[in-house]
């Protein structure tokens, strides 16, 4: 006799896992490809029909060795389902037909899960009336689905994240398969039991190892750091890119530092781009963006009808690629990378600027904060001198300059360094709720008055009053004496490290 009660628990777990895989696929599809309605419809539809295919195929498995087959199917679900989210994350960066891979997983999991129930029912066939069997198995199956639907948004995604949820479910699948070898022992040959146990143990071990290694995607410590669940992350050779999504929209982090939050980035980017566009002697035709791989500065620049050509130089192809293909980002930057006026170069700005002699009417310098020596060089006098050599005579440059409030010395070090390179500089600042008070430097070759009028564009933050107010520095952000940042002293990196340490 088989202990049927325990097998129902088995059904329950299998049901939870099956639905979680489905929800994971739907979520990943909508995060990574956008258009959640289409993604969820496709995933659910395919999953259910694949289960149908599985059920139909179950007919072809004859009764010999049924228990072993059932357990092998369970292990296959564990492997395919458990690996689904990590594999999809990896593919997203490298496979063109991500959608096909995604649907392939959904189909495979659906078929396997579809095979499971009929096989189980056949195993229990002789033990009770058909009436009882159908009602109990289906009850546990549906209750499992409910449990999954509740756990997924409340526990799994916020606590484990997508990759770990997937691996955890894979482990759960493997555990019940292992347990099943005892439950179904009477129906297994002695040799068969051992073989299945070994396989189950291997799958379980694999899942657990993968869970530990999931730090390659997101580390526990890192998950703690982000308020919202991580929906995308990638370790590129250059940096760690993380996108999180919460109620208020999504956020991009590079090496753990917030780059923007979709809720208020318009303040940052309107303040970054429009003053420099208005400060140039004539409406800029040729614009250079250094850094700014998220494409949000591009979005603002392309609004200006005078713009004929924009070149964006960003070190990391993964970042510009993400901005082009990640739907949420591409929507936010108005698909600016698809604009024919835009050329993307993936190179180190320090070297690129030295090697490319073209002149630009406006230059937007939007690098991550100077928290490493490799970034610090992009804030040196030498770097600004090189940029100055690429600025058209009446052109203007803007530089994101960290926070004048949290990092006052760093902020003024950047201003003074730009001045030391031969620019005439005006500091300004704006408040971005998710950052705090943020600072910039507006610079030209010759002394100038900052612009007082905003362009005639549909702007959300900037108007003439806000523009003028930005150039007023409150008392706690006024000039402090600092060293000029140079290649051989990297004074800025040291200021920055000391100042931000106080706030951590």
């Amino acid at each position: 006799m088989i202990r049927a009660g325990a097998l129902y628990l088995n059904v329950f777990v299998v049901a939870i896992c099956g639905l979680v895989y489905e929800l994971l696929a739907g979520t990943l599809g909508s995060y990574l490809l956008g258009d959640s309605v289409t993604q969820f419809s496709l995933v659910i539809g395919l999953y259910l029909s694949a289960m149908g295919v599985g059920a139909w195929l179950s007919r072809r498995l004859d009764d010999t060795d049924l228990a072993r087959r059932f357990l092998d199917v369970e292990l296959a679900v564990a492997v395919v389902g458990g690996a689904s989210a990590p594999v999809l994350f990896v593919c997203y960066g490298s496979v063109v037909h991500f959608q096909l891979v995604l649907l392939g997983f959904v189909g495979a999991i659906g078929i396997l899960v579809g095979l499971e129930l009929p096989l189980l029912m056949r195993l229990l066939e002789g033990q009770m009336t058909f009436k009882d069997l159908v009602s109990r198995v289906l009850t546990f199956d549906y209750i499992g689905a409910l449990a999954a639907a509740i756990m997924f948004p409340l526990v799994l995604v916020p606590k484990l994240g997508l990759v770990r949820s997937s691996l955890a479910m894979g482990s759960a699948n493997a555990v019940v398969a292992l347990w099943g070898t005892w439950l179904l022992a009477p129906k297994l040959s002695a040799k068969g039991v051992l073989a299945v146990r070994i396989r189950a143990a291997l799958v379980l071990a694999g899942m657990v190892v993968a869970l530990v290694m999931a730090d390659r995607f997101t580390s526990w410590a890192e998950d703690e750091m982000y308020a919202d669940p991580i929906v995308f992350s990638d370790n590129t050779p250059y940096q760690r890119i993380v996108v999180t999504r919460g109620r208020a929209g999504f956020q991009l982090f590079l090496n753990g530092n917030l780059q923007f939050a979709s809720a208020d980035e318009y303040r940052y980017h309107e303040a970054l781009v429009h003053p420099v566009m208005m400060a140039a002697d004539a409406p800029p035709k040729k614009v250079l963006v250094l850094g700014g791989g998220d494409g949000l500065a591009l979005r603002e620049i392309l609004e200006h009808p005078s713009v004929e050509q924009v070149t964006l130089v960003d070190l990391d192809p993964a970042m510009t690629g993400l901005s082009k293909r990640f739907p949420a980002l591409a929507e936010l930057n108005h698909h600016s990378f698809a604009d024919p006026r835009v050329t993307v170069v993936n190179d180190d700005a320090m070297v690129w600027v030295a090697d490319h002699p073209a002149l630009w009417d406006a230059i937007v310098v939007d690098f991550p904060d100077p928290n490493t020596f490799a970034l610090g060089k992009l804030y040196t006098k030498l770097f600004y001198k090189r940029v100055l050599a690429r600025l058209a005579p009446g052109g203007a440059m803007v530089v994101q300059a960290t926070s004048p409030l949290f990092a006052r010395k760093s902020y003024w070090c950047i201003q003074d360094t730009i001045a030391a390179a031969g620019f005439s500089v005006h500091p300004y600042q704006v408040t971005v709720p998710s950052f705090g008070v943020w600072g910039y430097a507006l610079a030209k070759r010759a002394p100038f008055t900052p612009p007082t009028h905003v362009p005639k564009l549909p702007l959300r933050y900037l108007n003439d009053d806000a523009l003028v107010a930005m150039f007023q520095m409150p008392a706690d952000m006024t000039h402090v004496d600092v060293e000029v940042n140079q290649l051989d002293n990297q004074a800025l990196v040291r200021y920055y490290e000391r100042e931000w340490r106080r706030w951590e």
Binding site: D348, T372, F373, K377, K381, L487
Partner: protein, 531 residues
Amino acid sequence: MTPTRRDFVALLLGAPLAYACRGGGGDRGRTPPSALLDTGMTRGHTAVRDAATPPVVTAWRQARVVVIGAGIAGLTAAWELRRQGVTDVVVLELCDVAGGTARGGATDVTAYPWGAHYVVAPQPAQTDMIALLGEMGAIEGHDATGALIIDEALRCREPEERVFYRGRWYEGLYLDAGSTAEDRRQLAGFKREIDQWAAWHDASGARAFAIPTRASSPAPEVRALDQVSFAAWLDARKLTSERLRWLADYACRDDYGLLAADTSAWAGLFYFAARQRAAGAAPQSVVTWPDGNHALVRHLATGAAIETGVAVHDVREVAGGVEVVATGPQGPLGIRAAAAVVAVPGFVADRIVESRRGGPPAPKGDYGAWCVANVHLRDRPRERSRGSAPPAWDNVFRDSPSLGYVSATHQAGRDRGATVWTWYYPFPGDAAATRKQLAGAGAAEWTEVVMTDLERAHPGVRALVEHVEIAFWGHGMIRPRVGAVWGRRPPDLDTAARVQIAHTDRSSLALFEEAFDHGLAAARAIVGQLA
């Protein structure tokens, strides 16, 4: 029996590493493809040292001045002659390229050095050096005190150095982490000594340690420093902190290829005090280019008539001028000129300059051997992000007899992707014995040593290496052993001599500034004769 790669690693890096290494049969990973650079040593030996009879010249060419050797000294002499309006100057060079021990190479990725790597930012008295750097566009301006400011792009970029110790990198060369109060007290004491020497002047205003060394004070108390070793000098001051002594040894190995116990205290103090303008002043900046001092070679060589692949055998004074006999790519070569500058190492000059062959044997210089490897990487190894210093220009392994490596892309600001690392290994022992020990070592054996050494700090680096080039400088540089700097000082130049000798060897220190100074002096003597 020819040594295996593992024997070779054991010889150069010590037995423990040899057992960890993939030597012998190549058990754990491949040795990257490698090649040996021709440093001219073999050609010099066969064409000059071992030649039975000098070649017979049939047709003599004419030139105004012949310069023998296109190292820094020879190129400087030719440069100075050009600047003074002397035309028809021919430079003859043994190797296929100019530069000598300041040679360089280049790939699509970056230029890189083969020997000399940096100069020290000149002080106001070094007017010729300032003129040279000015000509190269390497001077940015002057600060409020009137001091020269070198172009920011050439001042060594921070972080300049880091040192690898027990699994981590630390910023700087002096290991601060874990130092005791006594360590720090001794370091401060040493700095005070240096400050005192940096400020020291004799009655005529000469500094104790000046660049070039010719301008240094000959006062007895300064010269006395040449009679003791740097290690003995430190001992006498009870400066025995392991950290400080490591730094002193490192400085001597790095600049002189010697240990502090063998280095003249004069030279040891020179390293620290000469580059400091005054007591308490920060050391003058290190000035460097991706290809090191080869950038200076490129500039000095511009406009010079250099004939490469020419081995000079004989330089002799004749009535009304000089005769130079050589073997060129097309066979024997003879040039008659008004004067010649012999800008080759002393041991070569002793063979090829007629007047030096007959005379009393000059005090022999002591030469150290060096191995330099250029490691071409397709990408950089991952660095630990936390608790370890980031990549620097100079990356030193504290527990290695090598000096570590310099990254050729650091100065240009290329911090990712392909690069070239120049790895240095000085042989502080006897050069002839070293050469004997190393006989039979080819590029592959050397490369295994380089890889094993780099793997101390970068375990996966082998997979990123495209190929390795090795240069073995058998008589790489003259060394300032105890007594050498003042004891071996050659007599002042005879400005009337038609054959002028110019080489860094004349200073018993191998430095750009010395070679430059001797090149200038030789050229100026000849300009005086021609006037």
